[in-house]
Amino acid sequence: MKPGRMRGRIRGRMAAAIVTAAVGLLGMTLTGCNVEPSPPPGLTLYTEAGADPEAWARVPAGPFPMGRDGVEVTTGAFEIMVTPVTNAQYARYLTEALKAGQVILDGDTVMGFYPGDLFRGGKHEKEYRAGYYPHMPLGDPATRIVRKGDGFAVKPGYENHPVTMVTWFGARAYCEAIGGRLPTEAEWEKAARGTDRRPYPWGDGISPAHANYYHSKDPFETPEGYSDTTPVGFYNGSRYGDFLTVNAVSPYGLYDMAGNVAEWTADIYPMTHYRFLRGGSKANYGYDLRVWSRNSAVPEYASPNVGFRCVRDVR
């Protein structure tokens, strides 16, 4: 065969191989769309909470350095939940709230009343009038809470994981139902970092032993790479098989203030309808877990990466 023809044939085969690889990659990507991730290996092995979800910690009144630049901000004294609200706690609340008529079911969405926001007509601002808003989409495969009889139950293994797929309305309603409220951003950050300028609740630097974040290789990461939630208080210095954690508590003894789930906060700012999320989540890189990092979303946003915890005032 002539060298020219040979070269042409090689070139043709290479082009065909590249096209096949590209089409294969595209096919694999698209056929995998919206496929539920497989259960993580840790789900059946580690079901207990690493800290008491019913416990509260006291944060004293006083100033603290807020944000990356450490601007001094003062908060009053308050108590905050030691862990995020769990699925079990939220399912119990939903059962009671449904009986008491505090929430209703609209198809497979839990809805509740919200008195509305003050609308100022800012650019991009969306108006929220008094009315019923979604608390939790039960029909979404990512939701860990399901209908059972007259009430609600948790998918097996997820009882002590932080509740997710709960909207800001749903988080707010839960906190009010237990006599508390959502923390303001300042309260949340003070509870996470204390009164010094540390970037993470436990101090400087982050490693997979400290928190559940993207590709942190914990036992709740699925073989395909999906990062699932860990039970609350998982990072308490315990060993889980080969996976060793450090006791990654905040200065006030709080768990999961970085990673696992991002947490709704209470503030409603003028000219905007967004609610702010703190702490970063299992879906974020380590730098998004720094105590001052913020995310924001519309209040009806529900995500497998978002949960909350409550505060209550101290007299």
Partner: protein, 488 residues
């Protein structure tokens, strides 16, 4: 000793040597600093690099570090553009030497001192040198603007094939001049805001501000600065590629006035973001003109590629297939223009879609998703511009034959694959939920990593080839130096 002097003369005075040095430094910085993010962190490469080089990374300084890194790379890219402009446009030799010398000292000083300040402990001496370097760059830009002054008698366009006024003012030179002056003003816009925030030791990434309902004038100035600087780099690249193709004829005559007008309008639009909420509208108007001018360049360039190759092969009546083959014959020349077309799919198209459906789609997503789309947007624009310049660079460096084919096609296909992956990744929430996204994330990440990796390997091979050449006594570098000396 003499041979070392000759080599330094090549690297620091000849256009090819200066461009080679700057691209080599950018490649080095990219190779080291890209190991600090993405999958490199998970693989432990970041820890190794930080330990080995003795970097001191304070969490609270991350945003400031990133800003310094962007600037360090941008300075070198601006230097490359200046070298190419001073080589492509007529000007006194002494002025060319002054401009290139000032720019070279400026970017190297700013690049190294900035990175040392940001990543190796905050030594304020280096911060001072960082500012000195930037001041020299700015001064070099002023010298360039003076050298490009288009209304002097010496630079009148005498050839009617090129765009010119009735009085003979060269409109292409005017376009270069307008771009240069716009860049100087836009750099000052950033410098004023930067000095304010810098003195307060504050830094922020613009993508973190987008949802703030009220932004200060200085925050807006920073946002305007970063947008217009990238745009002007793209305009400069398009003008330089036009020179490479010897853009002329009727399309040139239509394109150049549009490029001048578009550049002025976009610049005014970007600056006006500080004072008016209608800045976007002004920018859109300018963009239409600049993009149309670039389209005319593509039409001219592809037509020329086909005509030249068909004539070379002696084909009297070429078929459609033969014309396509002729178009694709030289991947470097084809690629430089193709990447401009591809930019519409992965940058301009996405950007326009985001702008018109902002409230309905993108502002319903959480901020982090919007941030991914925003950072992806300008990374894609920067990367595409870099590949366009690399096509020209590889041609300048004398890449011929099979190596030219391989380098060119790897550059085009791998970069386009990476950018397609990045575009799908950033838009994934349109068609996949957070819970069911893993296959899309894995697939697109593979495409991005493979594409970027292949481009970097191809560039590394090209640079190694030229590095090895520098060790040869009578290598290409010696011929290129002699050629430039003879030309002057």
């Amino acid at each position: 000793m003499r041979s070392l002097t000759d080599r330094l003369r090549y690297l620091f005075t000849s256009t090819r040597g200066l461009v080679l040095l700057a691209i080599g430094l950018v490649a080095l910085v990219t190779a080291i600093w890209s190991s600090l993010s993405g999958p490199m962190v998970e693989w432990g490469v970041k820890d190794f690099v930080v330990r080995t080089l003795g970097m001191r990374l304070v969490e609270a300084e991350r945003e400031g570090r990133i800003i310094t890194l962007y600037h360090a790379i941008a300075f070198a890219v601006v230097a490359v553009l200046v070298y190419l402009i001073t080589a492509a446009l007529p000007m006194p030799a002494q002025r060319r030497v002054s401009i290139n010398g000032t720019i070279t000292v400026g970017y190297i000083l700013a690049m190294f001192s900035g990175l040392i300040f940001a990543y190796f402990g905050r030594n304020w001496v280096f911060h001072g040198l960082f500012l000195v370097g930037q001041a020299l760059l700015f001064y070099g830009g002023c010298l360039l603007a003076v050298a490009l002054w288009p209304w002097g008698q010496a630079y009148r366009q005498t050839d009617p094939a090129y765009a010119r006024t009735r009085g003979g003012v060269d409109l292409e030179r005017t376009a270069f001049f307008v771009m240069t002056v716009s860049t100087l003003g836009s750099a000052a816009l950033g410098a004023i805001a930067g000095a304010f925030f810098g003195n307060g030791f504050q830094s922020f990434l613009a993508e973190d501000l987008v949802r703030e309902p009220v932004k200060t004038a200085l925050q807006k100035a920073v946002i305007g600065h970063l947008h217009i600087m990238l745009t002007l780099i793209c305009i400069a690249a398009a003008l330089i590629i036009g020179r490479w193709f010897d853009f002329k004829g009727i399309l040139h005559k239509i394109a150049m006035p549009m490029m001048i007008f578009g550049t002025v309008v976009i610049t005014v639009g970007a600056w006006s973001v500080v004072v008016t909420p209608h800045a976007h509208t002004i920018i859109y108007v300018g963009s239409v003109f600049v993009m149309l001018a670039a389209l005319l360049l593509v039409i001219f360039g592809w037509g020329k590629l086909i005509r030249n190759r068909v004539a070379e092969l002696g084909l009297q009546r070429p078929t459609f297939g033969q014309k396509v083959k002729a178009l694709l014959h030289d991947p470097l020349r084809f690629g430089a223009l193709w990447q401009m077309v591809y930019m519409n799919f992965v940058v301009s198209g996405v950007g326009i879609f985001m702008a018109i459906r902002l409230d309905e789609i993108f502002r319903v997503w959480p901020h982090r998703e919007e941030r991914i789309a925003l950072t992806g947007h300008w990374h894609a624009l920067s990367f595409l511009t870099a590949t366009i310049l690399l096509c020209y660079f590889a041609d300048m460096m004398g890449l011929r034959g099979r190596a030219r084919q391989w380098f060119g096609w790897v550059l085009i296909l791998a970069s386009d694959l990476a950018l397609a992956g990045a575009t799908v990744f950033s838009m994934k929430r349109l068609f996949v939920t957070e819970y069911g996204q893993q296959a899309v994330v894995n697939g697109t990440m593979l495409a991005i990593d493979f594409g970027l990796g292949a481009v970097l390997v191809a560039l590394a091979l090209l640079l190694l080839w030229r590095l090895a050449d520098l060790f040869r006594p009578g290598g290409r570098w010696a011929r290129e130096l002699a050629e430039e000396v003879a030309k002057e």
